[in-house]
């Protein structure tokens, strides 16, 4: 298993928003998806995930609803709001700019 990397809060928020852009998901699903997409590099710490979800909910970027999950059990589903989509686009742009700049610096040494 690849070493776990700690995620900064802002980065985690971005990943969560990105994951939810694909559709409504519960906390378990989000954590699995991030792990899957990053090929197991990123394993989200639950101590950060759930506070982040609740924070994003209070900021109005995502909204929550209890519904039936795949195995017919009650779970809390989150989905992006319109503000959330806007925020995601902006954060993604910022991340792009930042990582490009870092790459350029590392390459141009």
């Amino acid at each position: 298993m690849a070493p776990k990397s700690d995620l900064l809060q802002g980065t985690l928020d971005l990943l969560v928003l990105r994951t939810l852009a694909e559709g409504a998901m519960h906390g378990w699903g989000i954590s699995q998806r991030i792990q899957q997409l990053s090929k197991d590099v990123l394993q989200v710490n639950q101590g950060s995930l759930y506070p982040a979800l609740h924070r994003l909910e209070q900021q109005g970027l995502i909204e929550a609803e209890w519904g039936n999950s795949e195995n017919n059990r009650q779970a809390k589903f989150y989905q992006l709001t319109r503000d959330g989509r806007k925020q995601l686009a902006e954060e993604a742009r910022n991340w792009e700019r930042l990582s490009t700049a870092v790459a350029r610096v590392l390459a141009g040494l």
Partner: protein, 901 residues
Amino acid sequence: MIRYLTVRLGSLFGREQLERELDAELRYHIDMLTEQLVQQGLSHEDARREALRQFGPVDTVKDGVRDAWLSRFVEIAAQDVRYAVRSLRRTPGFALLIVLTMALGIGANTAIFSVVNGVLLRPLPYKGGDKLVELHQGAGDPSDPANDIGFSVKDLEDYRQARSFSDVVEFHNMLFTLLGRSEPLRVSTGVVSANYFDVLGIKPLYGRTFVDADDRPGAPAVLVLTHDYWARHFDEDPQIVGKVFRMNDRPHTVVGVLPPVPLYNPQGTTDVDVFMPTSACPFRSRQAFVDNRSGRMMSAFARVRPEATLLKSAADLDITAARLAKDYPQNYPQRDFRAVGLPLKDEMTVNFKPTLWILLGTAGFVLLIVCASIANLLLARIVRRERELSVRAALGATRSRLLRQLLTESLLLAGGGGGLGLVFAALTMKLLVSFAERYTPRAAEISIDLTVLGFTFGLALLTGLVFGSIPAFSQRVDSAPALRDGSRTSHSSQRLRRVLIVAQIGASFMLLIAAGLMLRSLMNVQAVNPGFHTEHLLTFRADMGFDKYPVSMPFAERQARFAQYWHAFEQRLRAVPGVSSVGAGGTFPLNELPPGTGRLVRQSHPLPPGMQPPSINVRFATPDYFGTLGQPLLGGRAFAESDTADAAPVAMVNQTAAKQYWPNEDPVGTRIESGNGSFMTIVGVVADVRQQLDRAPGAEVYLPLAQAALLGTTWILKTDLAPAELERSVRAAAQAHDADLPVSSFRTLADVRSITLTPRRVVVALIGLFGALALVITAAGIAGVVAFSVNQRTQEFGIRMALGAQRGRVLSLVLREGVALVLVGLAIGVAGAAVLTRLLGQMLVAASPQTSGPLLVDVAPTDVVTYIGVAATLLLVALVACAMPARRAASVDPMVALRAQ
């Protein structure tokens, strides 16, 4: 702590629901993880354990989420506050009115509470102050000054053996003359055991207090100054330690200065100026006095051991007293002899308690009235805002949200009221301290400390919460029907307002009764004829240094010298231009210094053995004393110049004594004995005088100044000159007579009389202020309720007038409503006053043994005149309050009224 608060506040925000949901959410995650691990091959139990391990501590996760919630709550609260501020700003007059009203109510209570706190609640500023007691011994109840015989040196040696006490210290108060300043000073001296300050737990500010070496016979005389005296006479000079002054014919060195702690003088009403050890007191250090078991002039304080209780120490005292009475029958009263120890704190505050409770009670009433009034105002406002609240409800605000915002408004108003009230109270601090000084030495401890701040904060919070929750009971804040139907309001709100106003009227009535009774008492006391003139009289003290005529001189010779001394001084005073008459005595009526007491033995009425002769006041007078004061002679003659020290001993009695002890005979010509073996012939009867305006005169006997050997005298000069001018001449005359004679306390008798009235005047002013406040607030409340009701009934009035009702009829309808409210309120008030009077009972009319007189003077607590007066005032005020709304009702245009909503 924070967790606790957030849980409590959180419930206000629907916290339980959130917790349950969070729990379910996390549980789902763990279940899914467990299933995944099972699919990977682990057993169910192992999978569960592994899942929990991978998930991490659940509580930590929950805490993380809760932190996110907390910031949300704070944000919501901030939002509520912003909204509340905006809403209040829209009606600034209303908000200001409420804040002001609340400030008055809270301010009054904070002020009075700060007094209660400083004087009664705070522990004494001595180390272990609650274990200090003052001892008394005597026959019957020794705590009554009439029965307290004081302590001798030998008494105290025996009481020191009592096991419950770690130590017993003595105190007695003497007036000495301090020489070495620009003029001789009279100092009130506390003569104490060497470890007095150690036992009390008082550390010096500068220098040191006494040590055992100071108290040995023949030790060099030392002094410790009290803070007040040092500030007043020595300008707070830190170099005072080491200075030497001359007192009692010996050099005295100042060794220390005390911090500003309250000091209790059990032997008089004057403050102690300096302290000295017993070896420095010329009376106390005489061997004959020390050896005499019956030589009693000291008071005593004791410290109870930490492991003993006050109860146990009381038992020890009883045992010791009984043993002493048995072992030395000729030195102790044989019947009913007891010794008691009273907590020092109680002794220092007992005079103040009745007054304080009354003030606290009235302040509490003011607060209740204020609260009812504000509740009324808020209810009225909610009704006015009903439309706004309904709109918001329709737009999606939950009931709890609306209630929360109304609560925030109330809390903001309460906070403002509390803060402003604190400012009001702070402004009155100095006044309160000087008011309390007359009653207790602890007056200087009155201040706004943390306890008082906590009290104010708590009170403001409580009132804010109470008001904020009223809408929850009285209104349906989320009812859509209100939108449809204009200004219809629920009847329950109007009924609640009526209940509140009636309660207000009842409370105001009781408050005004208290004010009225106190005012009548004051007027009665002011009208009292003290039995003599008070105009054009200047008084002062002259205290001869006792060392002038040494104690070694035989008594007869000393007596003659004293008489000569004072007589010469009297001649000089007579010669001062502007003085028309001179009188002298030990004290004078209305003075803080009371007359001495003695025992009356009539030659014609021998006492059965073992019975105590009755106690009687003893006054001294020069021949011109009565004439100067204007105290009429009722029979026989006054003292004359011929009643000299070597002439036959004579006496005079006052009318009360004559009636009481010589009911069927003329006392003139009979003989009495004063207790030291010598008999005097009564030569005259004089009219009664009042030592205190609010207490009836007691039996008194007068002795000629020339036949006593008084060190301290008071002088009364009849004059038309200005007091300041006369004082200068008198000081010059005193200086010429004897350069070492201190003269002090120059006051006109009229001023002295005024001073005795001051505490009562202050109390009346305070309660009167409260009463006036209550009246204004209640009047405004009545006006508000009636105006509102008129508003509601506009349609009805319009119909009535359209159908032919006269204006006057409508007017009377409105007035009737107002009067009905007042009558119900009065009924409640009368009932309440009756109950309260029954509960307070004796406290109102009893006089406390020491300085303060009864609260009510010559007026019964159920005085009909006062009750009728107050009721009439309230009715009148109510009618005036109703006048405006009534006029408006009567001037309604029927057409407009009918067309209105």
